[in-house]
Amino acid sequence: MAARRIIRNISILDLVHYRLPVPGVLSILHRISGVLMFILLPLCLWLFELSLRSELSYRQLRAVADGWFVKIVLAALAWALAHHLLAGIRYLLLDLDLGVERAAARRSAWIVFALSVPLAAWFALVIFGVL
């Protein structure tokens, strides 16, 4: 009798050469983008407060958003929102049994990236004042 194949979880060291399919990459980035927005929620609220409190604080916000570090954080947030929203719409469609087949799921994952990456790039260019 042949020995039974041992099925185990991969260890964290295996992640380096584990080839995750595109929907898997989309999925882990959905998680990472969600955590990023969760952690930066107070920053968003602080900026929201500055934008609304008064004419003066509105100008203060402009000054705060002028720093390159804040710009990078804002660009990261813009990417997180774009990816999380578009990947989320894909998940809602999957929940409706649309595009569940492997080929369709891969295609829709590529479509999400094809939309979210240029969208995030556009946000980044606006944030850095190029556009």
Binding site: G34, V35, F38, L41, P42, L45, F48, L52, S54, G88
Partner: protein
Amino acid sequence: MSIGARRLVVGAHYGLGDWLVQRATAVVLAVYLIVLAVCVVSARPIDYDAWAGIFVPMVMKIATLIAFVALAYHAWIGMRDIWMDYVRPAGMRMALQLATILWLAGCLVWAAQILWKV
């Protein structure tokens, strides 16, 4: 973790409800984003008065607060899923879940306070 031979302390059959709420709150947030985008585009050019003016009507205050409640609930379920996936020790998991709830509750109160000062 089990108490006695059969009873599990995890899994009170709230999973499906939470799963559904996460989808519902996602839809609320997507719709709110569209509404906000329309408001911003139609209020252009955006300066302080135009931007703050968006949040002056009571309808928009209530819609925004509902969006924040949906956001907090959505983020709670997502973060709870993450803690359940990656943090095994029950004590640490509960501490992280409690911290998540306090974090989100604090943000929610702050958001309400910001909105009602405009």
